[in-house]
């Protein structure tokens, strides 16, 4: 870092700009510091963003590619496979995200409790899933949920419940994905919410306790309202993450092979792009996903700002 920045520092001496240099030369200082990043951003982010937007207006299945403004966008409207992927993604969103955030809040409260012994250990334990490589964890989940030999079904049958086809029956595949994603991301969200909890002044609780408020009322009227910005932040992150869901359907429920799979927007996008080799259509899907995620995030933020705290 230092090596990349130092040339611009020494040539323009921005650090000494305050001494006798005209004030208007200072405006460029932050940009010069940002320059290395901005160059990388422009090449590896901005240009691909623009290029894929342009691609979405091209027919990329002919050689050479031709401009055909409507070919991909029109297909989005009639493509049943895309609609199925969208439906599946929204199901995960509606079911998994609220469950996960409720769990995360509960865990955060527990981790914040002074009564809990070995708090750092527990905090790490809940955060640990995020440290595991997603490929490794997917392999383990695929073994756990194996219909014939998996530990999950062994446990179910041991207590007299029927074994379920977790990896091949579409309904249970959805459940497997939801369980896996929840396992992986709940601790992460709990840590974010825990950070939020620790910013709530303790004297508020003391005052409420003196006024006779019970634990539930303190949670309902102090903790929750003050936590709201943090929970909304976690919600926005989770919504974006779910819209881009890929690893779990790809590896755990085996969307990578051509068998029965639950297609999500992410896996469908990949298949259109890299298996059917239709970059134009894949770009149109990508922009649709991005637009929907942005709209949902904006809606969440709007809700958070509106209601009184």
């Amino acid at each position: 870092m230092a090596a990349t920045i130092s040339p611009s520092v020494t040539t323009s001496r921005p650090a000494r700009a305050g001494r006798g240099k005209p004030i208007d030369r200072q405006w460029s200082v932050p940009y010069r510091f940002l320059l290395p990043y901005l160059i990388v951003f422009a090449i590896f982010w901005l240009w691909p963003l623009i290029d894929s937007f342009l691609l979405s207006f091209q027919n990329t299945r002919v050689n050479p590619w031709t401009v055909d403004v409507a070919v991909n966008w029109r297909r989005l409207w009639v493509d049943q496979a895309f609609h199925a992927a969208l439906r599946n993604t929204l199901i995960v969103l509606v079911l998994q995200v609220p469950i996960m955030l409720a769990l995360a809040t509960a865990i955060a409260l527990a981790l914040d409790s002074p009564k809990l012994a070995a708090r750092p250990l527990f905090r790490f334990a809940f955060f640990a899933p995020i440290v595991v490589s997603d490929v490794a964890y997917s392999v383990v989940f695929r073994l756990l949920f194996n219909g014939q030999y998996g530990a999950v079904n062994q446990a179910l049958t041991a207590i007299g419940l029927p074994a379920l086809d977790w990896l091949h029956d579409p309904t249970w595949m959805m459940a497997t994905i939801i369980i896996a994603v929840t396992w992986r991301w709940t601790g992460y969200n709990a840590i974010i919410i825990l950070a939020g909890l620790q910013t709530i002044p303790k004297d508020l609780y003391e005052a409420a306790a003196i006024d006779g408020a019970g634990a539930w009322r303190r949670f309902r009227h102090i903790t929750l309202p003050l936590l709201k910005p943090v929970i909304v932040f976690a919600l926005v992150l989770s919504v974006i993450g779910t819209m881009q869901l890929f690893t779990e359907p790809w590896l755990i429920t085996d969307a990578q092979s051509s068998g029965v799979s639950i297609e999500m927007l992410g896996t469908y996008l990949f298949k259109q792009g890299f298996r059917n080799l239709n970059f134009g259509y894949a770009s149109a899907i990508a922009y649709t996903i991005a637009a929907m995620a942005a709209a949902m995030a904006a809606f969440n933020l709007l809700l958070a700002r509106r209601s009184p705290t």
């Binding site: 299945r61 194996n146 298949k271 890299f274």
Partner: protein
């Protein structure tokens, strides 16, 4: 041992060896001085196919001592995925020899005409070698007068079955003539075996459908790849038959590895697949030697067609190969010589497509693993009756749409087989822009 000797001969020995080898290769059409060809080549392939190529390497190195061959087993789908990504990136990170399934091949030549070398331009002798292969293997590898890959194996489908499990249930495979017989036999076998044992396996992909449709003379597209034919009667018959197998509870669900695990655990009584599955069963469950056998596909009705093809591949040479000469030498050696094709048949059950190999005496030998049966006679005997079928450049696209329709139909959704396939035809039409045949 012989390989090591051949790799380090003294100068005189080397010259002598080269002369001898050059003489020996004349009949194979590869009369180049093998010593001129040197360097390292990487080959991408998958499971049994990779093992088959690996089995050819020792003989190849006797003739081409200066070429180091590395066969990488990436798995079937990753080879396709990484190949497309590599071509899309302008040919970076590609091997020197690339395995491609015939049915999936056309997307490469159509979208990336520059990604692979035209074999005919690589050597003057190549045209004569290519001309030996049957036309149905070359259709999908040819664009205009360019040929992008050398045909390799084909996948004549048969039923692999556990003799002991059938016998225990009192089922004689000779009496299984139609698919209805097959279903009745399946019910008996799994009832007798009990436990987790199932009759056949599927991972829910379309391979069952493509096999039975091919048997019935139907495919996603017509032979020229110009119209969609999936709504035609043969495909409907195929789908209805699979539904009957499904509804009889004969299927276990499992992907490639899980199916092999089930075989090993004695939990699968049959497998219906291309001849190339032979090597997988044999390699996976060596302790079941003598317990397996093979019979022809049941027909839709008595006297009907009992042949189908599933899979079958070719070897291509990426244009970005730094060692195209060595790559071509290997491809020609592995696929263009009857002895190499028989080596691969022995190693992995890859069914030769080179006509000279089909008549090799090994084909008529009794196979101990298969209870002394002459299985290759059964498998290769079906070759003449197999109906051609064309993947087209839209194969992956069509296949994913069919896969969804197929899964829904087996779950009892979407109405009749005809309605489901008509709907799939419409979806393929809207995805590819091709017309539906007869409309």
């Amino acid at each position: 041992m012989k390989t090591t000797v051949a790799m380090r001969p003294g100068f005189a020995g080397r010259a002598l060896a080269a002369t001898l080898l050059a003489g020996a290769t004349l009949f194979g059409g590869a009369a180049h001085a093998a010593d001129d060809v040197s360097g390292e080549i990487t080959v991408w392939s998958w499971n049994v196919a990779a093992a088959a190529l690996q089995a050819v390497v020792p003989a190849f190195n006797k003739e081409y001592p200066n070429v180091k061959v590395t066969v990488q087993d990436l798995g079937n789908q990753p080879v396709y995925d990484r190949g497309l990504a590599g071509c899309a990136a302008g040919g970076t990170d590609m091997p020197d020899v690339y395995s491609v399934e015939n049915g999936e091949a056309e997307v490469f030549w159509n979208r990336f005409p520059e990604c692979f070398s035209d074999l005919k331009t690589m050597s003057a002798d190549e045209g004569a070698l290519l001309a030996k292969f049957p036309a149905f293997k070359l259709t999908e590898l040819t664009v205009g007068d360019k040929v992008y890959a050398l045909p390799w194996d084909s996948g004549p489908a048969v039923v692999f079955y556990r003799r002991d499990l059938y016998e225990a249930a009192g089922v004689d495979p000779a009496t299984i003539v139609t698919w209805d017989d097959f279903i009745e036999a399946g019910k008996k076998v799994i009832a007798k075996a009990g436990g987790n044992t199932k009759f056949v396996s599927t991972n829910g992909d379309t391979s069952w459908f493509r096999m039975l449709a091919n048997q019935a003379g139907c495919a996603y597209f017509d032979e020229k790849g110009e119209s969609i034919t999936i709504g035609q009667p043969g495909c409907v018959q195929a789908l209805e038959t699979i539904k009957k197998i499904n509804d009889a509870g004969l299927f276990m669900s499992g992907n490639w590895d899980e199916t092999l695990t089930a075989i090993k655990a004695n939990a699968l009584a049959s497998a219906v697949y291309g001849g190339w599955y032979e090597g997988s069963i044999r390699g996976n469950a060596p302790d079941q030697s003598g317990k397996w056998g093979v019979f022809k596909l049941p027909a839709f009705e008595k006297g009907g067609n009992q042949t189908a093809n599933i899979g079958g591949s070719a070897l291509a040479i990426p244009a970005s190969s730094k060692n195209p000469k060595a790559a071509l030498a290997f491809v020609n050696f592995a696929n263009g010589r009857p002895d190499s094709q028989i080596t691969q048949l022995k190693a992995s059950g890859l069914v030769p497509t080179l006509p000279e190999a089909v008549n090799d005496p090994f084909v008529k030998e009794e196979q101990p693993y298969w209870g002394g049966q002459r299985i290759w006679e059964v498998v290769l005997g079906t070759l003449p009756d197999i109906k051609p079928s064309r993947g087209t450049q839209y194969f992956a696209e069509a296949d994913s749409l069919v896969s969804a329709a197929y899964t829904n139909f087996l779950k009892g959704q979407g109405g009749s087989a005809q309605a489901v396939l008509d709907d799939a035809a419409n979806q393929i039409a809207s995805a590819t822009g091709l017309p539906i045949a007869g409309k």
